[in-house]
């Protein structure tokens, strides 16, 4: 153990800038950290904070306009900065590997998996082909790939996203690297897949004794994988400490604010509002002179504005970049007063009894285009993608139904079917007592006005050619008889309702940030005063602090305008926070539906149980059962018979699950579970998540 003292990677005062068209933009300033052998450092921050730039700087993969201005990067005691690429290759050797976000673009689509894995060994290690194959297969076994010999002969597109990422990780580990850099490796994956990839990373780290630099925007993931955490904000590390210190005793105001923005699993809108961070991230071209967080900090003082704080260590092992954290630590840890719940008890609201939306046995199938000769002649059997397969649900007036599920479960198709962008092939749908089976073009204008939608992608939700004012005003012109002047007043009122000032009226979408675009989309959706708004993942492409603001806004608007909502998301914590009722979907079917607090406590549907155990929780002290699903989601073209979940269910009973559709069991009033397992058995389940210490969440998951 001679060199145990030397860190594997030591970065000192790193500064990186990009040459833009007209100016030099500093992306990273004064970043220092070290990673020792077998240690994992998590870098966390919102988009644009420079976390990926740090990683690229370390491996010298900056874009052509990027430049390291200052600082040093020591890899096992050797300086990497300022060397030629040949020297770098020798110094670094094959001891640094990197895993990126998108596994499909990391793999060559025209080469078989086997060739790509072997190449690492034949090129870097000079192994013979046969031996390289053997090593590759062993490695695939170690990343738990089923049937590794067969995988070697496949092409990347023939694997699922989770499998692809496993292959990339296997490839990164083949060289037995001293340092593994992972840049959002699980961001594109579903929660259950993410959970198993994270397990794999943790296990491999123990086994190979590799150091890890892990980059993510997801606080929960960082809490799970890291030993030490660095919190980045606009190019600087503002807080760096052990994972427990950062998550349980955060000192920097930004870290504290960030933690408060994220809905914890089990937190609901009744118990708290999410306090968003005020203002927006300063542009790197126009940074504040003093503390970079000062304009958005609730506790900023005069000194913060004038002097840039240095990284200091008020508590041993806990570094922060703040002038006055200690003074705040005592008094103002809690969110400012005005942001604590102000809601009326929603459950007390009179229930009109009749649901506003009723969906009964709805099926939406897509025909699979088949270009074979037999089908062109009309002989072949038609194949259908069963996107929504026999779904029934009801939404009471003024409430929110959350629909949750992994990608491909049909939740978006369900939303499109309800608003009328897709036509179901059978079933019944009633909205306000009217039949809404026909597509939107055949519906009555009055009905069309009552049903609006908020979309997922802020980049494509607004027409880039028109001003904000025109786009919010258009539904007014369609649905109301306002004069031009009145319409403009109304648009400005709507802008105000989504907390944008009147100057946004004449802006074009490209001048807005993602969160602002989503606000405008929201204003557009509520302009016609609809009764039901369908939100299809409205916050999933936004940063957490922006997400918090949008969620608050949605809650406020829902109160003010008495809107019923169908809220679709893949994020279980957001769904729990936002919804009164929750439906869990899997492969086009609903497997559990009921009031939110009931869904998140036993008895669970086995799939819900697995989902809950996979959610990354930004709390290292949380006690979470680990239930990992095997296999992949079956194709909706050919879903399994009987219960669609039987192929992956860890609690499968046997033949009955494969043969018969699961019965609907009533666990409590309004809580239905579609499963063969008797209710008594399901009731014996234990709560998946127990948060041991958390002041703001009461009772949490085991509310039953």
């Amino acid at each position: 153990m001679e060199n145990l003292e030397t860190p594997v990677l030591q970065v000192k005062n790193l500064a990186i800038s990009y040459q833009m068209r007209k100016s030099v933009v500093s992306a990273v300033r004064d970043v220092s950290f070290e990673i020792h052998r077998g240690e994992a450092l998590g870098l966390v921050g919102e988009s644009g904070c420079g976390k990926s730039t740090v990683a690229f700087g370390v491996v010298n993969f900056l874009d052509r306009n990027g430049r390291i201005d200052n600082g040093s990067i020591l890899f096992r005691g050797q300086e990497l900065r300022g060397r030629s690429s040949e020297e770098l290759r020798r110094l670094r050797g094959d001891r640094i590997s990197m895993v990126y976000q998108d596994p499909l673009s990391a793999l060559n689509p025209s080469l078989r998996i086997g060739e790509q894995l072997r190449e690492v060994l034949t090129v870097h290690r000079g192994l013979r082909k046969g031996k390289a194959s053997k090593r590759s297969i062993e490695m695939l076994k170690q990343v738990y790939m089923p049937d590794p010999e067969a995988i070697m002969g496949r092409y990347p597109h023939q694997l699922s996203g989770g499998q692809q990422q496993r292959v990339v990780i296997a490839m990164a580990l083949l060289n037995n690297p001293a340092l593994l850099i992972m840049d959002e490796p699980t961001t594109a994956l579903d929660v259950t897949v993410q959970a198993s990839v994270l397990d794999l990373i943790a296990e491999l780290r123990r086994e190979f004794d590799t150091s890890l630099l892990y980059i993510s925007h997801n606080l929960g993931v960082i809490a799970y994988v890291s030993d030490k955490v660095g919190v980045m904000y606009t190019g600087e590390i503002v807080e760096r400490a052990s994972v427990e210190d950062v998550f349980l005793e955060p000192m920097h105001p930004y870290t504290q604010a960030l933690m408060r923005c994220v809905p914890k699993l089990g937190e609901s809108k009744e118990s708290s509002r999410l306090p968003p961070i005020k203002g927006r991230v300063p542009s790197p071209a126009n940074l504040p002179l003093g503390c970079i967080f000062e304009p958005r900090c609730d506790n900023a003082r005069e000194s913060c504005r004038q002097k840039h704080p240095n990284l200091r260590e008020p508590v041993p092992g806990h570094l922060i970049r703040c002038h006055c954290a200690e003074e705040l630590a005592e008094e103002e840890r809690q969110p400012p007063e005005r942001l604590t719940p102000e809601m009326i008890e929603r459950s007390m609201r009179e229930d009109t009894g009749k649901p506003i939306l009723r969906v009964e046995h709805v099926k939406t199938y897509y025909e699979q285009k088949n270009r074979s000769l037999t089908s062109l002649l009309g002989l072949g059997k038609k194949r259908y993608v069963k996107a929504v397969d026999d779904v029934s649900l009801e939404v009471p007036r003024g409430c929110t139904l959350g629909v949750v599920g992994e990608s491909g479960c049909g939740k978006s198709t369900l939303a499109k079917t309800i608003v009328g962008l897709e036509s179901p092939i059978s079933g019944e749908m009633e909205f306000l007592g009217f039949d809404i089976l026909p597509p939107v073009s055949k519906r009555d204008d009055k009905l069309v006005k009552e049903l609006q939608m908020v979309f997922q992608n802020p980049e494509s939700t607004l027409n880039p050619s028109f001003t904000v004012g025109y786009q919010i005003g258009r539904p007014l012109r369609c649905f109301t008889k306002y004069s031009r002047k009145e319409a403009r007043k109304e648009v400005i009122r709507l802008l105000d309702a989504v907390r944008l000032d009147a100057s946004y009226y004449s802006r074009l979408p490209r001048q807005l940030s993602g969160g602002e675009k989503q606000r405008v989309a929201l204003a557009r959706a509520i302009a016609g005063n609809p009764k039901l708004v369908v939100c299809d993942e409205p916050t999933s492409s936004l940063d957490v602090s922006v997400q918090a603001a949008i969620l608050n806004l949605l809650l406020g608007l829902q109160e003010e305008y008495d809107i019923t909502m169908l809220f679709i998301s893949h994020d279980l914590s957001v769904i729990r926070f936002f919804s009164d009722y929750v439906a869990v979907m899997y492969l086009g079917k609903v497997c559990e539906i009921g009031p939110a607090e009931v869904i998140y406590s036993p008895p669970y549907h086995p799939y819900t149980e697995a989902l809950l155990s996979a959610v990354p929780i930004p709390d290292p002290s949380a006690d979470q059962k680990s239930i990992r699903l095997s296999g992949t989601v079956p194709s909706a073209l050919n879903p399994p018979s009987g219960c669609p979940f039987h192929t992956r269910c860890p609690r499968k009973l046997g033949g009955v699950c494969e043969e018969q559709d699961p019965p609907r069991q009533t666990a409590a009033a309004g809580h239905y579970i579609y499963c063969h397992i008797p209710l008594e058995e399901l009731r014996k389940m234990e709560a998946v998540v127990t948060l041991t210490k958390q002041e703001s969440t009461k009772g949490v998951v085991d509310a039953s």
Partner: protein
């Protein structure tokens, strides 16, 4: 939103000022040197055409029997043709016709092609099949053959030249617009418009078309260049404007009989055609590069 901002009375500009819009349009042109060179060449011809009577003391049909097939001189800067007409005068008057006919025919082709492309791309299904198969059938003909068929059938005249170029050009534009439409119609703002119960024609022309304009404009610039070629070719074949009118194509055609005696009569109109086409192409190329970079 700070308190100070709320206290301020809201200043609302309902529409962006004319100057702002003008600057938006101009920015990509000024940023590209290639586009500027192209613009220079094209505007040379446009200015010459507009101010033709001021620039030249002669008329385009004015003959001088004393000065036939002459080379450049102080009296006739580019020389004269076989009938003693001033070549420079004929060129700038010829620019007048070609600079009206070429853009006009492309505009007509744009109107038809864009409409068909939007309809095919937006509605899809059997409507798309029918529209595109008919256009494919037109595109299967060699362009020059198509011109000949149409003009021979309708007779040579300015209007018929426009009709011929329109019919030959529309299918290509329709294909381009259709592919752009197929992409844009999947955007969420189109779904939002559908959810408002908007008329399909509103969606096609107001929601989709403005977002497809970049590639369409660049394509149209190139097409004006092709149209200049086409008009020149038809003129050369004697299918353009009737004889005495100053037409670049027919000038080349007439001049080639005396090519050994007086090469100028062929050289200048040929140079005119190529400089205008090159100018338009450079302009289109520069515009495309810049707009791509803006995206």
């Amino acid at each position: 939103m700070g308190v100070s901002e709320q206290a301020r009375p809201p200043v609302i500009a309902t529409s962006r000022s004319l100057w702002q819009r003008f600057r938006d349009v101009l920015a990509p042109i000024l940023a590209s040197k290639v586009a500027l060179v192209g613009l220079g060449l094209v505007s040379f011809w446009i200015l010459a055409a507009i101010f033709a009577p001021l620039i030249s003391p002669y008329g385009p049909l004015e003959q001088d029997p004393e000065a036939m097939n002459l080379g450049p001189s102080s009296k006739h800067p580019l020389g004269t043709d076989h009938l003693g007409r001033d070549l420079w005068t004929r060129l700038i008057y010829g620019a007048r016709t070609i600079l009206v006919l070429a853009p006009l025919s492309v505009l007509c082709a744009l109107a038809i092609g864009t409409t068909l492309g939007l309809i095919g791309g937006y509605f899809g299904g059997w409507i798309d099949e029918i529209v595109m198969r008919i256009l494919d059938a037109i595109m299967a003909f060699p362009v020059i053959l198509l011109y000949l068929i149409i003009i021979v059938t309708l007779g040579p005249s300015a209007i018929n030249v426009v009709i011929a170029i329109t019919i030959a050009g529309a299918p290509g534009i329709a294909r381009l617009v259709r592919s752009l439409t197929l992409d844009i119609r999947t955007r969420e703002y189109i779904a939002a418009a559908e959810l408002r119960g908007e008329n399909p024609f509103y969606i096609m022309f107001v929601e989709i078309l403005p977002n497809a304009r970049g590639p369409i404009i660049v394509d149209a610039m190139l097409r004006i260049g092709y149209a200049v070629f086409a008009i020149g070719t038809l003129g050369f074949l004697g299918l353009g404007l009737p004889p005495p009118s100053p037409d670049w194509g027919s000038m080349v055609c007439k001049g080639r009989h005396y090519i050994w005696l007086n090469p100028c009569a062929v050289l200048w109109p040929s140079l005119a055609i190529s400089s205008l086409v090159i100018g338009l192409n450079l302009f289109a190329d520069g515009l495309r590069e810049e707009t791509m970079r803006y995206q």
